[in-house]
Symmetry: C2
Subunit: 329 residues, 2 copies
Amino acid sequence: MKISIEESIQFYGKKIDTLLKEFIPPERDDNLSEPIWHHLRTGGKRIRPAICLITCEELGGNPDDALHFALAIEILHNMFLLHDDIEDGDTMRRDQPTVWVKYGIANAVNAGDYLLARAYQSVLASPIPLDRKMKLLEIFTDTYEKTVQGQALDIDARAARDFSVKRYLDMVELKTGFYLACGMVGGSIVSGGSHEVIDKIWKLGKLMGPAFQIKDDLIDLTIGKGRGGVIGSDIKEGKASFLYAYAYEIADKDDKEILARIMAKERETTTEKDIKDVLDIYGKYGAMESAQNHAEELTKQAKSVIDDIPVHNKEVFREIANFMIERMT
Amino acid sequence: MKISIEESIQFYGKKIDTLLKEFIPPERDDNLSEPIWHHLRTGGKRIRPAICLITCEELGGNPDDALHFALAIEILHNMFLLHDDIEDGDTMRRDQPTVWVKYGIANAVNAGDYLLARAYQSVLASPIPLDRKMKLLEIFTDTYEKTVQGQALDIDARAARDFSVKRYLDMVELKTGFYLACGMVGGSIVSGGSHEVIDKIWKLGKLMGPAFQIKDDLIDLTIGKGRGGVIGSDIKEGKASFLYAYAYEIADKDDKEILARIMAKERETTTEKDIKDVLDIYGKYGAMESAQNHAEELTKQAKSVIDDIPVHNKEVFREIANFMIERMT
């Protein structure tokens, strides 16, 4: 009986959770496990690692052989959340104080570094032939590096006076594209997938990452991302969204000035009036429509890449793509 | 003609510098290269990577094959300095503002993460057989992980009310022992060294690391580490030295209280009188003599480990050990 992708994610998510507890024992009373588990307990649906295992299985591999790599992806994801919270000055995550707020910056930086060490240890523990393991280490390192480069562009974006759609797309491809593809690519490598399959999956990730991110940017202005569906958290946080990039690039001098000024404001000082002003400018230049069109175009391209993946069972990639676009928030 | 270890370090240091500039191009105008080169330009004698190459050569390997691994060790070292400066709140390094002071905490955390990515890329670029490269990735990851664990103990030490010589030695073995050994072990692996050689070199590092660190702790109280030979910077910074651990462990209740109180003080508020009080307590309990004896005992043990290394040319390890103890500050 065919099970749904949601059921697969739940099934594999439990396996990931079990291995995670083995790899980073929660009950240790030290400056590493305690802050890390404070963070890990705030949740996470283990979607990224589950997609790695689903890909491996559908391509004919044994998903248990990909379990350590999948765990590494999940640990890497959490390492970035932990360091990003410091970098962005975020004080709350899922109704809990962030690690740096609760345990101090020193422990938060160091706990993030420790997560990365555990992630590499997990890749190294993969029960697979040497050449495949080396490939996993290569794509894991590439993904880690690209994500850091994307984060550098993101940190820079707030102050950038020449921000544009191109810079936004570069940033998002680096910061979320590699990352989304990495699990699927790892699953393919473990299953013994060919170079062609792997190249296509990278391409797919580089389209899906931005498509997913633009959708996420739109959600903030339609149904809202914050607690109780608050609209405009990205504007409050000065986050460089597609809408900001699009409007900022084509706005006239006065509107550019308003956008940049509100973008640079601290979260606490951004008013409801500021948010309304930004939304008005977005409306004036058609930023929402452009975002919608851009996301749809990327999704179309992604689906055409899927058609070209040289494997029999393409359906799983279509399901993953749909799931990412529709549900992954 | 035999050249001295100082000359070897200088010779190999230049090779490392050349590859470093290839791996992280200095002239890039972004949020990664700029802060990283601000830090790298403050200096560094490339001793750790040079020792890796010297070991490889003396054991019959081609040092060029170990060059990428040696560079990775140097990059890792700098990644830790960069994150440590944030964690310790240090504002100056070698007469320059630290990266987090000049570029902000966000860029400093992220630039450190980027260094680690470049370090792994450097190991992955090693021109050696797959099985040896995998071993390098394993010891590199182990060393990275242990150093982070040592840093966790170090962050904890300032507040610890049960600090002891044992905890100090655990911390120092993790924080500097693996790290010192890692270059030598990597050089042995590249040269095709046996398990026995490699095990002994790990053992050597775990003795040399603490010996070196205790010597460094003593220097702070004798000839001084700060600019113009200022005595007692470790006391000012609240650094958990051997002397602090030793005196704190055996001191009576009143002296313990004084030590803990001064240890917990911010650097700016620690007075000359505080430093004198701590030095008096160290004197009362014989902390200097104990440190001297302990360092000598560790060095003696290290030399006996060297006698047991199953290679013909042990002289190089003796030279490295002497160099570390005498000069590496």
